[in-house]
Symmetry: C2
Subunit: 333 residues, 2 copies
């Protein structure tokens, strides 16, 4: 196993220390239980947003903590759900008196542990809403989920809901918005290689030199099919077709197109994919009015890509454009 | 070879098309000869900055085209210098009447071809200055250079000089500033794995499961030594020590610390490295006042990291903080 780490046991803790050393103006760390939270938390009178999940998907979620996005992120061990005490303590730490939204990717452990944390916090008088993201069209159920998995739309939901919370919306409004983003976003991914979980020490799955996994999950879970590797244009078509047909996206829609690296796929390849995805959508009369290209929801060093399409309206567009200042996403309105 | 491309011949062209499809508000493409340039070029009365080099180091340089950074970037084939006609045509396209600075990484082909382009442009009455970046402390000469290679400091020079040009500085001033950044920046990198050049189809170099290449170049050129793989803290020490001793950086210095991914190293590992680098510098009395963490000068999908340290003063700090809006770096002052 070739990794720039000191030990599998310490990688999450040390990465959190590195995040604080680099971005101490934006975030702080709480250890035992582990979470990263906004340096200025709690923000009085603002709905707070907490997310989290297994580590190994960086910059998600810690890299999205900051003004205009998350108030706290709870990192579990690599590819392992955080424990309820992490989300419970994070919820208490960032609660500014207007309630807390939990954004949860649909994996069984995450869902159960977030529910337990929400119950504990509610028992202490904190208003908590939870929205589960399940945008992955690849498979109906999977290794670690009942129902669809939560993937790329999570990033977009965290940005958009973060902007709404910053603008003073109520917990009910921000939660409804999160459900709307989930309802309007669809994703699918694929892998050329496996990744290696540090404490496992060997690749999560075997894949031949001529093979690719279509519909792969962000932990390397099996997807739809194992196919002979194809060219980038064909792969882009295979990912986009099920996405477009699912909602379905229609001629006249305005969308955000998000082309994501699974970690090991370089930018030059992402732009080859983006080019074809943009062309396919444009030909279908679907207008790409916003985009995001880069490694934002990854699977350690896995080579591969995922595509997310989110249907936009004026509300979502304006919240996407609103100021954000986090380690991984940063712009002003 | 597992890559998300259509063919090795088309990858650069198609990635440029993808860049324009995604970032048409910021940049345009010129094909044959190939270059990306600011959508609002030429900017009248502003010094223009042109850089370029082999592709495969994305987002460098195309991802740095935009307000506050580069006016144009000339991508060669993967790991191959662009040809003089690319830099010549780019120079003409972005010249706003106040002269053009070429920022050139010290590789023999790049230096010769940029010189030829500068001569052609000067023959047409365009004032051109060129500054060669040679910040890599790993080796004195290398496969493709006389003298030190140009690596991470290039990214910082492009940002800082871009801000100075935007602020109205003259060509003489911006060129002097670029030399100053080069004089005050030092880098060193290492690799855990090789990368594969698309038109070659096999790894650039062989490396054992237990080995790492210390001082590797951004094309996979040999570095200082092939060692048994060490832990992240030891690797960070091995990279930082030659950097600190070179200028040398001294107690009391303010610096920018840039921890870069060679492409295949995920963010979680970069922050483990950042943590230790920050600690070493702090213990030496060197204060990290600015930083950059991520994949900014890569070697395709190579796993590895490089560290760059740049000595800051008030001038450089304020130019670093100035607004920038490019695909890969974006903030407001």
């Amino acid at each position: 196993m070739k990794k720039l780490i000191n030990s599998p046991e310490n990688v999450v803790h040390e990465a959190m220390e590195g995040m604080v050393a680099a971005h101490g103006d934006l975030l702080k760390a709480h250890f035992d239980p582990n979470f990263l939270f906004r340096a200025d938390a709690p923000v009085k009178g603002k709905v707070a947003i907490v997310s989290g999940g297994g580590s190994g998907h960086e910059p998600m979620h810690g890299g999205f903590v900051g003004k205009g996005m998350l108030d706290a992120a709870c990192p579990g061990a690599v590819f392992t759900s955080p424990t309820p005490d992490q989300m419970h303590e994070a919820t208490k730490a960032v609660n500014g008196g207007k309630g807390v939204l939990h954004i949860v990717k649909n994996y069984t452990g995450d869902v159960l542990n977030f529910e337990m944390a929400a119950d504990l916090a509610r028992g202490e008088g904190i208003e908590v809403e939870a929205v589960v993201i399940d945008d992955d069209v690849a498979v109906k159920d999977s290794t670690w989920t009942a129902g669809r998995r939560g993937v790329g739309t999570t990033v977009l939901a965290e940005k958009i809901c973060g902007a709404a919370a910053e603008a003073g919306q109520s917990l009910t409004e921000v939660a409804a918005l999160c459900k709307k983003v989930n309802a309007q976003g669809r994703s699918m991914g694929m892998a050329l290689t496996s990744c290696t979980v540090p404490h496992v020490g060997k690749p999560t799955f075997e894949i031949g030199e001529e093979e690719m996994e279509m519909g792969v999950g962000i932990h390397g879970e099996p997807g739809r099919q194992r196919l002979k590797i194809a060219n980038a244009d064909s792969i882009t078509e295979m990912l986009l077709k099920p996405i477009i047909e699912d909602i379905p996206f229609k001629s006249g829609d305005n969308v955000l197109l998000f082309v994501n690296s699974m970690g090991g796929t370089p930018a030059i390849e992402l732009y080859v994919i983006y080019r074809k995805a943009h062309e396919i959508l444009t030909k279908a009369g679907i207008k790409v009015t916003r985009n995001l290209v880069g490694p934002y929801i990854t699977s350690l060093e896995m080579a591969g890509t995922s595509i997310t399409v989110l249907k936009l309206d004026d509300q979502l567009t304006s919240l996407w454009d609103a100021a954000v200042h986090t380690p991984a996403l940063r712009w002003r309105a």
